[in-house]
């Protein structure tokens, strides 16, 4: 019996894959939010552009980008796979199902929240990633770095885009709220001395990440930063 393939295609193995890729994406969001927060220095994006330039040119980061896309694709593929299996496990539903009596709505709606995030991701990648990697950033800043901050300012002049970004950060918040603690449980890291800490970290992480991201379009649109 082939050990690892067999292990990873089992129900628990698939959960590990979701958990590991989830933790990887959680770590990525910290880096992403951290570097983007440089715009709040309000220096016309000079520091932010240095960060963006580093992320775009450093070979380790560029290699990491492939791993990131791979992790994301595996996370999505496995989620779809598991959802199909789970649907099959209950072909005939209940006439009355009182889910709110025993679990949080967002823990039961990870597929929906994830789908919203995927739609967001397509828009988001088109807005910034495609511009910085392929079509090219049109201007340079005072330091001579490509001015990604100018692209950001231009994109966030559109109120529809700003509202969409903020709303989708709410779905990110709920996705993380369940996903963070859930990954620990899946990996078997359940321990009475640490469970409380994990739950609290999960709430803080989800709130901080989504609020920091949501503030970016708001701050640019309202000219809180220039």
């Amino acid at each position: 019996m082939s050990g690892f393939g067999n292990a990873l295609s089992s129900s628990i193995g698939r959960k590990y894959v979701m958990g590991i890729t989830g933790i990887f994406l959680i770590l990525f969001l910290i880096v992403h939010a951290g570097i983007n927060s440089l715009i709040f220095l309000d220096d016309n994006g000079l520091k932010f552009n240095i960060g963006a330039h580093f992320m775009a040119t450093n070979w380790i980061i560029r290699a990491g980008e492939y791993i990131l896309f791979l992790g994301l694709l595996v996370h999505i593929y496995q989620a779809v796979n598991l959802t199909i299996q789970n649907r099959k496990a209950r072909p005939e539903g209940y006439a009355v199902y009182n889910g709110s009596a025993n679990s949080k709505w967002y823990s039961r709606s990870m597929g929906l929240l994830g789908t919203l995030l995927l739609i967001f991701l397509v828009i988001h990648l088109k807005d910034f990633w495609v511009v910085s990697r392929f079509t090219g950033i049109p201007t340079v800043d005072a330091n001579g770095n490509e001015d990604l901050y100018a692209v950001m300012k231009e994109k966030f002049q559109d109120p529809v885009r700003v509202v969409a970004y903020v709303l989708l950060m709410i779905s990110l918040c709920y996705h993380l709220l369940h996903g963070f603690a859930s990954a620990f449980q899946t990996m078997g890291w359940n321990h009475s001395k640490y469970n409380g800490m994990i739950k609290r970290a999960s709430v803080w992480y989800a709130l901080i990440i989504s609020i920091v991201f949501a503030l970016m379009p708001i701050a640019v649109y309202t000219h809180l930063i220039d």
């Binding site: 193995g13 496990a89 209950r90 009182n98 679990s103 949080k104 039961r108 859930s182």
Partner: protein, 251 residues
């Protein structure tokens, strides 16, 4: 109490079922939920109709046979009770109560509210046991594991295998049941020799039965009449990883 019941009636697993309305009058609030069904069935028999088929045995909350999905929750609205220990005082006069069978591909409906839960038996048969070897009696004063660990094993062993966890899980996952049965033995010294073989066999059988996958919503733990903890699922996940990625024993 006067009640309106909406009960799932289904002839067998080949035919389609539907909710059927029944009016019940003068139900005592001190009756158990199953006794209320006994009253309904007597009325149906008197009228020459087919009585509602439902599973029950001890009616003391320990056998795990009763299995009704009441108003969207397994074993009804109260925590830590089975349907047989649920009393009509938990409802109000004039209530409409919807009663359905457990719904999962792995639990096909036999008739009305009765489902076939032998998938659980097959999971147990796959590894939920210890092989007892003959030999001398152990030293009676020997304390091979600390009290806390023995207590955790006992709490896992409290699982009565009713299937409420599967019924309430949005994915019809059996992980709370399987993890309780794995944990109860994994925590005891007698379970150690087969520990990593057991977790592999039982998880493989669980997957083969067509149960869904756990998404950690915690609904199972909240609805379990015996309060089985999610900690058991984490332990099963850990043991499964040890078995698959570290242990050299395969199944």
């Amino acid at each position: 109490m006067n009640l309106t019941l909406k009960v799932w009636r289904q002839k067998n697993n080949k035919t389609k079922g539907a909710l059927v309305d029944y009016k019940l009058a003068d139900i005592s609030p001190d009756m158990s939920f199953l006794e209320m069904f006994d009253v309904l069935n007597e009325q149906l028999i008197t009228k020459g109709e087919e009585p509602v088929v439902f599973d029950h045995d001890c009616r003391e909350g320990i056998c795990g046979m009763c299995s009704m999905y009441i108003n969207g929750r397994p074993h009804g609205p109260k925590d830590l009770v089975t349907t047989c220990q649920l009393h009509m005082r938990s409802f109000k006069d004039g209530d409409t109560i919807v009663v359905e069978p457990w719904r999962a591909a792995a639990f096909p409906v036999v008739k009305d509210l009765t489902v076939d839960r032998s998938a659980f038996d097959r999971v147990i048969a796959a590894g939920g046991f210890i092989s007892v070897n003959t030999g001398n009696a152990q030293d009676a004063n020997n304390l091979p594991i600390p009290k806390m660990q023995a207590d955790a094993a006992f709490e896992a062993a409290a699982c009565i295998g009713c299937g409420a966890c599967v019924a309430t899980c949005k994915n019809a996952s059996a992980m709370l049941f399987v993890s309780a049965k794995i944990s109860q033995l994994a925590l005891l010294p007698q379970g150690q020799p087969e520990r990593y073989r057991r977790v592999q066999s039982m998880v493989a059988q669980m997957d083969a039965e067509g149960f869904g996958n756990c998404t950690n919503t915690g609904a199972c733990e909240a609805e379990c009449p015996k309060g089985i903890s999610l900690e058991n699922i984490a332990r099963m996940n850990r043991d499964f990883a040890s078995a698959k990625f570290i242990s050299e024993e395969t199944i």
